[in-house]
Symmetry: C2
């Protein structure tokens, strides 16, 4: 039975959920990532990845059963980091829904800025088998569930004012993920600063919905 | 000199910026889109596209100079629709910054829900030459500029309260684009309803920033 490389890299939340370790991929995964980014998933062969890392094709198959297993291992790094950070942030925040929301959003944004190198892969999720895609989705759903609980708690104690709880959670997640589109490691703001600002914007998104109306001239 | 197909489809804003026409691609572009979605850009050959549409390779080259020209023509549909809708929405909204923001956000969200079939292509933008990528970016920057002007107008007249104007515009654009990740044509809400809700969330994002703070226990 094939198994993953023994060099599995650091624990995703080593150093706490605010830590931003460098992307530390084992050699085969690093080569697969480079190849997928250059030529796309379908444009890459297992032979090409083996050549990049300097191993034979059978040696590569000892670690990963096929090309999809490489893609899945890379995507798993993203989703597991995503979930573990969110759970750690929520635990640290205590009971205040406002602090819980801010911390979890910060954890997601920090995680995203760490995963720039993996980001281009996310659209390749459509090439996974249904079973593997479901596994990815289930992990992401757990993060969504954490946010749903936080928003429900804030609505319940009167801190938050939203039109539709599920919708605003989806919107907040969309906002967090969008950081990938523009964040640059050498930019003006570091991951923690961007994360804190997005935590604040997320709090605005769950505040004052019922007083937000726009006058529309009659059609 | 190669030229695009004569069947260029409907004007992007035919029927106004709220209209959601079906994606009406000329045959070669439709075949290219199907092939890129199934096999990725690098996994697709011009020969494969020609075979799908039932023309010879030279006939295809008469319309599009190469595979990148096909990708660019598809991406241009997204970005031109994006810009034309935003400009039309802003013009209709008049002078009120709140209505301008709501309408432009609605126009972007409606445009996104229309482009589901093209969405998977956006990550392939990295395969364009620098010149073609710059052309795409320039069109997107024009939409960002419209939003920047609206936010500046709202801050100036006291309607809006934000920490960083450029940042909140980026956040709003990220929110709008994220609709692609979950919107389904057979879902509970139609494009106009989703758009209106996102317009409201965007207004919340530019409101009340200076009173949004989270108590943080000492580190």
């Amino acid at each position: 039975m094939a198994r993953e490389e023994t060099l599995t890299g650091p624990d995703p939340v080593e150093g706490g959920w605010r830590a931003v370790p460098t992307l530390d991929l084992p050699p085969i995964l690093a080569a697969a990532l480079d190849a997928f980014r250059e030529h796309g998933y379908h444009g890459t062969s297992v032979r090409d990845i083996a050549r990049r890392v300097g191993v034979t094709v059978p040696a590569l198959y000892y670690h990963y059963a096929n090309k999809e297993a490489l893609l899945l291992a890379l995507l798993d790094r993203i989703t597991q980091d995503f979930l573990q950070r969110a759970l750690a942030a929520d635990a640290e925040a205590g009971d205040d829904p406002r602090r819980r929301l801010a911390y979890v959003v910060e954890s997601i944004v920090i995680g995203r800025t760490r995963q720039l190198g993996l980001a281009a892969l996310e659209s390749e999720i459509r090439y996974l088998t249904a079973e593997n895609r479901a596994r990815q989705t289930a992990t992401r759903d757990q993060v969504e569930q954490v946010l749903r609980e936080i928003v429900a708690a804030g609505v319940s104690n009167g801190d938050f004012d939203v039109v539709d709880e599920a919708e605003v959670v989806r919107a907040i997640l969309g906002l967090c993920h969008s950081v990938l589109a523009w964040f640059r490691p050498d930019g003006e703001l570091g991951p923690e600063e961007v994360a804190e600002r997005y935590g604040r914007i997320a709090l605005q998104m769950v505040t004052g919905a019922s007083s937000t109306q726009v006058d529309r001239p009659p059609a």
